[in-house]
């Protein structure tokens, strides 16, 4: 174990540009993870990750037990799906996700005896997690178990993890970089997992590193989470894992910015972390890997934060995947009267939605409910070319030019200014004094570029 302060890091402990929005994490930071009672019904969309939908393996009226496989990912970038509860398949219908996609989904009604409460908590996060994984498991065993367990990145993007840990003949991975930054305002789900289940994260990290044959394991945590750093440090005692303390700044948790801050490496434009020998995943995913490999349990539950001033009692919850947003919010006392916007994820990159019957998916890190006071309503005025968007863009782009190119459909100008490098963190819109919806326009421009390539 080694604790790396920013001065000891190969990187500078930070990246250029970025913003400091108020983090509002105190709303839910000190709320211990609570287990939500088994719901009457769960809805499991067949596509919860980046990639291809899974194929259902159950029929309506079929009995399923908790943890049973109900969908298989046959394609390369696809995952298995499991039932989080014991019950009966009601139907294979359609549901809509906050990102606007209509997807086939398996509806399961709870029936019979359920694992819940403390027993469920112990099963998912608690108990003992061995630290000698490398001596017990072969890399191929680990990646197979991860594939079986249907694990995807729990940080938000939901990229299938087995694809990341799969040995790649063309690229050498030497470092497993684990993301514990949680730079989105409001969200505290990763923080609570680091605090309450550091053992699972450490075990998962050792397993993940074994699977990709990485020699270095670095967990990056922002310096506004000293308690999490302390817990991880204690738990990582006697292992090769290093903990990198990074400066708090949004978007520190973006993979390219994190690699730059912690390792001093710059992922080439259009490239992936593996191009600089890094595999990157989030702390929650590590805990899921530990459970999947050591306890042979699939990814059926996750920790989410339900927070914001639009929710009566902000909490961190351990929920079954497929729980409706309504059930999660109700468990937290419901919405307040001045709730104005409900977001899947955090306020910087999350998706707003209005239909509370939507399910929590593998990639849902939280539900943030903002009030009328929190949501910005100002009208757009003209760009005065002040360049503040340029000063904050972590990709060092010129957002105002990209937005203008997008607005006028000038794809060659957009291309000249590297529009596809934008990962839509929203810093430019956040700071724009003219309240121009820069990242929204750029998103549209990116879609136009993608469409024009087809």
């Amino acid at each position: 174990m080694e604790l790396l302060q920013s001065k000891d890091l190969p990187g500078k402990g930070s990246f250029s540009h970025g913003i400091h929005p108020p983090d509002n994490k105190s709303l839910s930071r000190d709320a211990a993870i609570e287990v939500v009672p088994t719901p009457k019904r769960v809805v499991l969309p067949l596509l919860q990750n980046i990639g291809v939908p899974s194929k259902p393996t159950v029929q309506p009226k079929q009995q399923v037990v908790a943890g049973e496989t109900i969908g298989v990912g046959e394609a390369f970038i696809s995952t298995n799906l499991h039932s989080p509860i014991t019950g009966v398949v009601e139907k294979i219908g359609v549901c809509t996700l906050p990102n606007g996609r209509h997807l086939p989904a398996i509806y399961i009604k709870a029936e019979g005896e359920q694992v819940s409460g403390q027993a469920l908590y112990e099963d998912v996060l608690g108990g003992h997690w061995p630290k000698d994984c490398h001596a017990i498991y072969y890399p191929s065993t680990i990646s197979k178990a991860i594939h079986e367990a249907g694990i995807v990145g729990l940080g938000g993007a939901a990229f299938p993890t087995h694809v990341k840990v799969r040995p790649d003949d063309t690229k050498m991975i030497d470092t497993l970089m684990i993301n514990g930054c949680e730079c989105e305002p409001y969200l505290t789900n990763d923080y609570r997992v680091m605090l309450e289940a550091p053992g699972a994260i450490i075990a998962g990290a050792l397993l993940g590193a074994r699977a990709v044959s990485a020699r270095e394991i670095i967990i990056g945590v922002e310096d506004n989470k000293p308690a999490a750093i302390e817990r991880l440090k204690k738990e990582a005692e006697g292992t090769v894992i290093k903990i990198a303390v990074l400066k708090t700044k949004y978007p520190q948790g973006s993979e390219k910015q994190l690699i730059k801050a912690a390792l001093g490496l710059e992922v080439p434009l259009g490239g992936l972390p593996s191009d600089v020998g890094v595999a990157m995943s989030n702390v929650g995913t590590m805990a899921a890997i530990a459970r999947g490999v050591i306890r042979e349990k699939p990814l059926t539950h996750r920790v989410i934060t339900v927070t914001g001033r639009g929710v009566r009692n902000p909490k961190n919850l351990l929920v079954p995947i497929g729980l409706s947003m309504q059930d999660a919010i109700d468990y937290c006392g419901g919405l307040t009267k001045d709730a104005a916007r409900i977001i899947a994820g955090g306020p910087m990159m999350g998706f707003a939605f209005s239909n509370l019957s939507m399910p929590v998916t593998k990639g849902t890190s939280g539900i943030t409910v903002l009030t009328h006071d929190d949501v910005r309503k100002e009208n757009e005025t003209s760009c005065v070319r002040c360049g503040r968007c340029v000063d904050v863009c972590p990709m060092q782009l010129v957002p105002t030019k990209l937005a203008m190119a997008s607005r006028h459909g000038n794809l060659s100008l957009a291309h000249q200014y590297n529009i596809m490098a934008c990962f839509e963190c929203g810093c430019c819109t956040y700071v724009c004094p003219a309240h121009i919806k820069l990242v929204q326009l750029i998103r549209m421009g990116k879609a136009m570029v993608v469409a024009s390539r087809k």
């Binding site: 913003i19 929005p21 305002p185 390219k256 710059e266 992922v267 080439p268 434009l269 490239g271 639009g310 919405l335 307040t336 009267k337 001045d338 709730a339 104005a340 916007r341 977001i343 306020p347 910087m348 990159m349 707003a352 939605f353 209005s354 943030t368 903002l370 929190d374 949501v375 910005r376 100002e378 005025t381 003209s382 760009c383 070319r385 002040c386 360049g387 503040r388 340029v390 000063d391 972590p394 990709m395 060092q396 782009l397 010129v398 105002t400 030019k401 000249q416 200014y417 590297n418 490098a421 819109t429 956040y430 700071v431 724009c432 004094p433 003219a434 309240h435 919806k437 990242v439 998103r443």
Partner: protein, 319 residues
């Protein structure tokens, strides 16, 4: 028992924004930063300052209202940008300028300087400088360097030559202390280096003005004046004269930093500042005018789109 369902609406991310930031707030910042210079102008030039400030601000607001109406757009007076143009224009006028010069300069600044390009954010040139250049060339006799001096005025300051003109024409040095504090003749707002520095540093602290522009401009003037000072053996006096004299500091902090007509990127802003500094010195030493800030800014405004094109930043991960 259930409350009425709250009104929830959807929108693409991000869902929060900086609350301390708006175009209007930037303009108010400029007005706040101009107060020391305005106070000094009123102290030095009394009723002359009040007349020009009143005329310029009123005409700019009226012109903005009129021209925006003519374009059929919604009225934009509440962003304060026209008021800022008015104050800056007034502070760049000589106390002795005739009233119609201020009125015409203001109407031209807003009309030809700004609205004709499409309003706030679209103009290529600094509107206040467009207006000033227009009257300076149209009424050369009433606006030229010699016109600053008037024995018939009600204020002592305007009986002297401006420090820049005194040195250029007769080789007379003005005490540096007077130039720093502002007890000299000159355009209304430019005389006090101290007032410009106070306001300018506030603007840079608020990040309403980009520090790269004044830094580039002042550094270039120091270097060029320093070389001339060394060669001429002035013992440092010439450097301070060029730094505190004329509109250099007023221009560096309040005119060149107009975001609309200056480049977007930090590197571009530095190049822009250096360019203005070099042109100011070129005009001061080699042209018929004793001062060159106005023309230097206008010339560099014209180059801004080119600078923007040269200084596209290297995207993260681009090698």
């Amino acid at each position: 028992m259930e409350d009425a369902a709250p009104a929830v609406h959807v929108s693409p991310s991000p869902h929060i924004g900086s609350t301390s930031n708006s175009t209007r707030r930037m303009m108010i910042d400029v007005l706040i930063a101009l107060t020391p210079a305005v106070a000094m102008a009123i102290y030095m030039f009394r009723v002359y300052a009040l007349i020009h400030l009143g005329l310029c601000v009123a005409t700019c607001l009226a012109a903005e209202y009129l021209f925006v109406r003519m374009r059929g757009k919604s009225i934009s007076l509440n962003d304060f940008s026209a008021a800022v143009t008015g104050v800056i224009l007034a502070l760049s006028m000589p106390a002795t300028a005739p009233w119609y010069a201020s009125v015409i300069a203001s109407a031209v600044a807003i009309g030809l300087g700004k609205i004709i390009f499409g309003g706030l954010g679209m103009n290529i040139f600094n509107p206040a400088m467009v207006g000033r250049a227009f009257v300076m060339i149209s009424f050369a006799g009433a606006m030229g360097a010699a016109a600053y001096e008037s024995g018939a005025g009600w204020v002592d300051a305007i009986s002297q030559a401006t420090p820049m003109n005194a040195l250029k024409q007769s080789g007379t040095w003005t005490p540096i202390g007077d130039m720093f504090l502002g007890f000299t003749n000159g355009s209304l707002g430019e005389t006090s280096a101290l007032a410009c520095l106070l306001g300018g540093l506030y603007l840079c602290y608020r990040r309403t003005a980009s520090w790269e522009i004044p830094a580039g401009m002042i550094a270039t003037v120091l270097v060029i004046a320093g070389i001339v000072d060394l060669v001429g053996g002035h013992g440092g006096r010439l450097i301070l004269h060029h730094l505190f004299g004329g509109a250099l500091l007023f221009g560096a902090f309040f005119i060149a930093t107009d975001p609309v007509s200056s480049p977007l990127t930090p590197r571009g802003k530095a190049i822009f500042g250096i360019g203005i500094g070099a042109l100011v010195m070129l005009l001061r030493f080699l042209s018929g005018y004793p001062e060159g800030v106005m023309f230097a800014v206008l010339l560099m405004n014209a180059v801004t789109p080119l600078i923007n094109r040269w200084t596209i930043p290297r995207t993260f991960g681009e090698f």
